[in-house]
Symmetry: C2
Subunit: 190 residues, 2 copies
Amino acid sequence: MDILKQRIIDSAEVLPGNVLKVDSFLNHQIDVELVSKLGAEWYERFKNEGITKILTIESAGIGIACLTAQYFKVPVVYAKKSRGVTVGNDYHTTKVVSYTHGQVYDVIISKNAISKDDKVLIIDDFLANGSAIKVLIHIAEMGGATVAGAGVAIEKAYLGGGKDIRAMGYRIESLVKIKSINSKTITFDE
Amino acid sequence: MDILKQRIIDSAEVLPGNVLKVDSFLNHQIDVELVSKLGAEWYERFKNEGITKILTIESAGIGIACLTAQYFKVPVVYAKKSRGVTVGNDYHTTKVVSYTHGQVYDVIISKNAISKDDKVLIIDDFLANGSAIKVLIHIAEMGGATVAGAGVAIEKAYLGGGKDIRAMGYRIESLVKIKSINSKTITFDE
């Protein structure tokens, strides 16, 4: 998607460890007009899938998910991360390792938020090693829902998470794929 | 605001400790159509203020802020909570105590995200003791910005946070005010 690629070229920074910093337009600061266009694009790609819920995980996915959900006219559910808090029987719970921070989180979702009648579109900012998307697939399926696929803004294709998840049979629509990041050069997968 | 009040009556739960649980429509699960109407209401109230940024804090404020920002046609900035992570010189940092969890968080915002030319509208889901709104005012002003006011969905008026902040000279537009919560009865401040 050219407008997102151009914005990455213009405004993203590469930090040590090849962290791609997009906090001037995608997370931290959100260019709402740009992100709404990403939502319109995912709507074009998934509009015939009978989506009933947009599912994401806090925090970076929430704004993107809300701006996307407006096109589908469905609610957003965001899974919460918590550490060591007892949540009782009202929640599906699982675990995820943060790619950025290396910490293990509990991921929770209310049993009321997802049902077997739901067809879920997962939305997130990044797909790196795929752990966040995998945990969202897992927790949606714990709730009995069907996963129609995932829309991610930026896929770090060289990390293989997207390849894994596609091999599991899930559809992923990433709007920009990055082939490699070396020092300060970002190479896109066309 | 009647549609929000009615939704609270229909769908909110009161948990022990008088926690008002609105996670079926305002946080966790977000009724995007309802929240967009809250955004339209804040736009009506602040549209002549020259707002340049919507400011909130992760996580619950992000979706509400993004849906509101569409009316103002300005970006969202969400302050991040972190614990013990060194963020260096690129961020304004301060601290907040969570009303719900009692924990102390560092609150950070990129120095690039807020400038002295900004006129900021703060948006959040709840105003309880006011600590989140106060910290957002403080961090916006650390960045040199002017605070036009705050829009909150639900003000727990009996906790006094709103009264404090208004006494400091800031404008707060809460869409529903709660006068008291006793066991399972919610009384609204008309």
